[in-house]
């Protein structure tokens, strides 16, 4: 458990770093293959379901973006700034999903986004497994979440 009811409770550790800190590991030492040294990595990370109705969250959104599928992304772990491509996304206008958005991306700051989540639905689902790259090592990772609403995020693109 990394965050419990909004409170940061634990970090991920591998054996080596945990031992340096004089604490128990969390089993997060991972490596791509025998050719690589282990390092701390996520494995299967998810946000638990809330209680809201996902359709109601959309209906309660006067102006926004409905993101159905994210593409690749990149995070600066020191600052928390991230960017993600949206491979399938739509405009939400007056509570309705309307036209699709093409070749746009999202940019934001991880800690800020966590604080700006203002609705969590009950429809938990795991996403498609993917590969996460860090310092040249790719490892398979899973993630999951329910429908979530973030009150403010920057959408990039060329629309005028």
């Amino acid at each position: 458990m990394l965050i419990e009811n909004g409170v940061l409770t634990e970090y991920m550790w591998d054996w080596l770093r945990a031992r340096q800190e004089g604490r128990l590991g969390t089993g997060n030492g991972r490596r791509e293959s025998y050719q690589h040294l282990p390092m701390v990595r996520m494995t299967n990370t998810y946000v638990l379901a809330g209680t809201s109705d996902p359709d109601e969250i959309v209906r309660q959104t006067p102006h926004g973006v409905y993101v159905a599928q994210l593409g690749g992304g990149q995070v600066n772990t020191a600052t928390g700034d991230f960017v993600f491509g949206m491979t399938e996304a739509y405009l939400i206008e007056d509570g309705h999903i309307t036209e699709p958005l093409r070749d746009a991306n999202l940019i934001g700051n991880g800690p800020d986004v966590l604080r700006n989540i203002d609705a969590v639905a009950a429809d938990f689902a795991m996403g498609m497994p993917g590969t996460c790259g860090k310092q040249g090592q790719g490892v398979p990772v899973g993630d999951g979440q329910p429908t979530l609403r973030v009150s403010a995020l920057t959408v990039g693109g060329t629309a005028r």
């Binding site: 990149q74 020191a78 070749d103 991306n105 920057t154 693109g157």
Partner: protein
């Protein structure tokens, strides 16, 4: 020039000689050694060294191609690998264009890319250099709070390729680098910046530059705010230009063009950029990081002019894609080591430098955005439509000078519009650990999305 690896060429030639009637055989043999040292807070965090040797064999039989590789040069294994490549050819779908490269009469450039002093460089000195780099970053500015990473890396690679169609090529190269990432500021205002230096020999490395760039880039962003959305001129630092060129290089790959996956398909002879842009891929340039005497199929590399004064001239081909496109290989076959069959790619892209220093370019632009880092490039660029949208960090330009730092925004345009919107090409060619070199580039009318 490149002695020392004649055993590899002998082995490759021997395997090529095992071709049976009606069969073509190509052997690519490589041997390499690499070291990576990472330090953290005055101590070695990790040190790894790797040695590898292996062979990749292609067999073309009828119109079918098979490929197999093994991470060993033992005689038994080599025989088995050839058998497997033969087997695999049996499973392949017939393709009338498959076939190996053959000698095309182009003489290889006289390039010496190997430095004995790197091979002899002791591990404890590599560690000392990484530690020295970390100290230099820390000492570079009182606002540096941490050094996220300080690293030494090097590689020495020898390779040879021979085929039953008459190819005989061998080469070897060394590279080394120092790289650092600095963290500046307080918890409330954390900024990062990176710097590095690359070379063939330890003597080529400029530790102060690597440290200084990381420090300058991290501290320059302190106090960065999210900018208001705008359409403005952008000035790319050399590293960003190199990233853009690498993306453009991917769209000029003849195979992508054949498969309809390039925005430049059917545009040869047309104006695709302003006249100030001449884009070349020149692996014969000894200063280029990706310099090479031969491509991955053993053809001598050559200087390929892709865009000449704004006009699209040609695409990059290996022997397969060239045959399919009804042209000749540009010697642009590349492989990710012995484990892969040849693909196509640029090695040493560069825009021919212009006349302006970076300072002159800032003055010329007057008001705009100076971009020092981009993120999400692999998901933010569509090579077919040309749509380009990436996260960025940088500094606003006011009155020709760097003014307020900005972060957490995107810049967007299309590759086509960016090439047509270039307003200045820098004179400051910078070698980077990439298939492209960089220089300062100014582009008009890019969308910035922030507040």
């Amino acid at each position: 020039m490149s002695g020392g690896n004649s055993d590899l060429l002998e082995l490759a030639t021997r395997v090529a000689g095992w071709a049976q009637d009606g069969e073509q055989v190509e052997a690519y043999v490589a041997r390499g050694r690499e070291t990576e040292v990472r330090v953290y807070e005055g101590e070695v965090e990790s040190l790894s060294s790797a040695e590898s040797a292996g062979i990749g064999i292609r067999v073309v039989s009828g119109s079918r191609q098979g490929f197999a590789y093994a991470g060993s040069l033992d005689a038994d294994v080599v025989h088995e690998t050839l058998d497997e490549a033969r087997d695999n050819a049996g499973f392949a779908s017939p393709d009338e264009w498959v076939g190996l490269a053959g000698p095309d009469g182009v003489a290889p450039a006289d390039l010496d890319l190997w430095r004995d002093d790197l091979a002899a460089y002791p591990t404890d000195v590599k560690v000392a250099r990484a530690l020295e780099l970390e100290r230099a970053v820390r000492a570079g500015d009182s606002r540096i709070r941490a050094v996220e990473s300080a690293e030494w890396g090097d590689a020495a690679v020898e390779s040879a390729v021979a085929s039953s169609t008459g190819i005989r090529a061998s080469s070897r190269r060394t590279v080394c680098y120092l790289s650092a990432s600095a963290v500046a500021g307080s918890a409330a205002d954390t900024q990062t910046g990176s710097g590095y230096s690359v070379g063939r020999s330890p003597d080529d490395l400029d530790l102060d530059k690597a440290a200084g760039d990381a420090v300058r880039r991290a501290t320059r962003l302190l106090g960065a705010v999210k900018p208001h959305s705008a359409h403005l001129s952008v000035v790319f630092e050399p590293e960003i230009t190199a990233t853009l060129l690498a993306v453009i290089g991917g769209t000029l790959d003849g195979e992508a063009v054949l498969k309809g996956r390039s925005l430049f398909a059917d545009r040869v002879g047309e104006e695709v950029s302003v006249g100030a842009i001449t884009l070349v891929d020149d692996p014969t340039d000894p200063e280029a990081y990706g310099a090479a005497r031969f491509d991955a199929e053993g053809l001598a590399t050559r200087r390929n002019v892709l865009i000449e004064a704004g006009v699209l001239r040609e695409f990059l081909y290996n022997s397969y894609s060239a045959r399919r496109a009804g042209t000749v290989s540009t010697a642009s076959a590349v492989r990710a080591g012995f484990k892969s069959a040849p693909g196509t790619g640029a090695r040493a892209l560069t825009v021919v430098p212009g006349q302006h220093s970076p300072e002159e370019i800032l003055a010329l632009v007057g008001d705009g955005l100076f971009v020092q880092s981009v993120s999400g490039v692999h998901s933010g660029v569509n090579p077919v439509s040309g749509d380009f949208s990436v996260g960025a960090e940088g500094v606003l330009i006011r009155g020709g000078e760097l003014a307020g730092p900005v972060r957490e925004f995107t810049i967007a345009s299309t590759i086509q519009r960016m090439l047509s919107g270039v307003v200045a090409v820098g004179s400051d060619l910078e070698r980077l650990p990439s298939s492209a070199a960089g220089l300062t580039l100014a582009i008009a009318d890019v969308s910035m999305s922030g507040e």
